[in-house]
Amino acid sequence: MILVDKRTRVVVPGITGREGAFHAARCKDYGTTVVGGVTPGKGGTTHEGFPVWNTVAEAVATEGATCALIFVPPAAAADAIMEAAAAGVPLVVCITEGIPVADMVRAKEFLSRTTSRLVGPNCPGLITPGQAKVGIMPGHIHREGHVGVVSRSGTLTYEVVHQLTTRGIGQSTCVGIGGDPVTGTSFVDVLRLFNDDPETHAIMLIGEIGGSAEEEAAAFIRAHVRKPVVAFIAGQTAPPGRRMGHAGAIIAGGRGTAAEKMRALEAAGARLVPSPADMGKQVAATLGTA
């Protein structure tokens, strides 16, 4: 397991919003330690049973928060990311969708001068089944086990997890890195962690069109990864020049196509699944549990 476990103590910036409150409660239901939330100006109050602070620093000082799960609206989300990093929170997870790219360029530069790791934005978060859920994924579809899942997508990740779990294959940790052009944690970062994690025996990677993150992942797999990797790339039929929902999912100037990414991953030794219906089946075959 990587990044989150039983010891993770989560503070939720944006907890007084509808999404923030709802998901803070769902994470707590799953067994995650949610120490409270942050909304500037509402410090000292409680919201749906959670204590609220004015700043992330206060949550760190009083409750020893080790992880910030951000639901702040897009216009203020990059600021919330920087605040959490400045407060010394080691893991910052940003769920918010629709943050201006320029804000993330600045926030990422800010983060590079701190020791915090950012996951997201525009991601479902991450979960270590049976340990901690830090995100918006439905907890009940997961199962404890040894397949590490890393993905740029949300519901497509649920799809693969469901396929794995119904075959009796559990997951070590599932990480959604997000679908934006600028994200904190890359495929390579997560692959490195999974590769070093003794609990992870195989890796399922779910990419999509746009950018070159999958090609970089392929180069890393070829050079370093000593565990089986199964991969699926969404958007094999996407037309060029049209943004497929995610701000980052666009084929531009003939680059970022699914075919290119699949070729790179296959050449690196990953097993490619052409059909999204066969992701679980391929992992099972790879693990020899089919």
Partner: protein
Amino acid sequence: MKIHEYQAKALLREFGVAVPRGDVADSPERAHEIARALGGRVVVKAQVHAGGRGKAGGIQLAESPAAAEAAAKQLLGMRLRTPQTPPEGIEVRRVLVEEASPVRAELYLAVTLDRARSTEVVMASQAGGMEIEEVAARSPEKILREWAHPALGLQPFQARRLAFGLGLAGEQQKAGGTLAQNLFACYRAKDCSLAELNPLVVTTDGRVLALDAKLTFDDNALFRHPDVTALRDVHEELPLDVEASRYGLNYIKLDGSVGCMVNGAGLAMATMDIVQLAGGEPANFLDVGGGASPEQIENAFRILSSDPSVKAVFINVFGGILRCDRLAAGVIAAVRKLGLKLPVVVRMEGTNVELGRKMLAESGLALTTATDMGDGAQKVVELARATR
């Protein structure tokens, strides 16, 4: 978001990027007036959101105001077809009338995001006027790159390097460097996703000018740029796309016959893929989002089924935040209200799936249920074929 060339040039002028003198006209008479005020030869350019206008006859040289009027008359109202437009073309509603610039050299200058480095890259090339992708593919060494600092931006020395690299010297090197910095300033100030001058030209009398200009903007940042948002031209967008965006739906029309309704962008793309693997063609990309309400489901259904090429509909939902019972309620309401005759295949999984399945089964509607994505794709492709 895209804007027209004339709008981009007006904005660039505010940032001190040199562009040819000119103005926009929506009538031949107005084109005549502008040409007369400019004096001498002018260029009349069709204003549509697509490249490749020159080869398609959308850009015409006029020696006199009368010739400019005639060119405008011919262009206005015509459907311009270029490799970048839909097959039926785009109606020309405005023309830009500009002074004709005698060109000595055609260059390229652009700013965009380099995702791998998480900061902006400024690209310059002496091979202007060509498709930059072609230049990048054939001779990548002909493209110079300077990466902006994420916080501090583009430094003067970087702008100088670009100008020298473009082969500029003396006053033109200074003008080119300033122009690069001003272009970058515009990119940052207005939250662009692309600012491209192709070609940037040196005129025979030594001026450095943006002869063509393309600006696109980060949709996520439009909330803080009401001036940019006001430049949106919905006539350039497909009517179904416009309607979908009004309901917060992410819809893109494609060419196939299988309508797809999915929650989540990644799963929506994967659904298009599996439809094709099953031998069909997706009619659209449609992401109803994570927390769609029954009303949104209904609107989504109406929009995708109003495309006449849709022969069958595939609903593929993995309920996380979006609960399956709410989805089922939306689907049932939509099918009843719209009196939908198209075959519909529903595959759903996740939160409250049993309840959702029960609701669909008891609705009395002729819906086909699927056990998984693969099964659903097979069924919907067969149904689409049978309906043809």
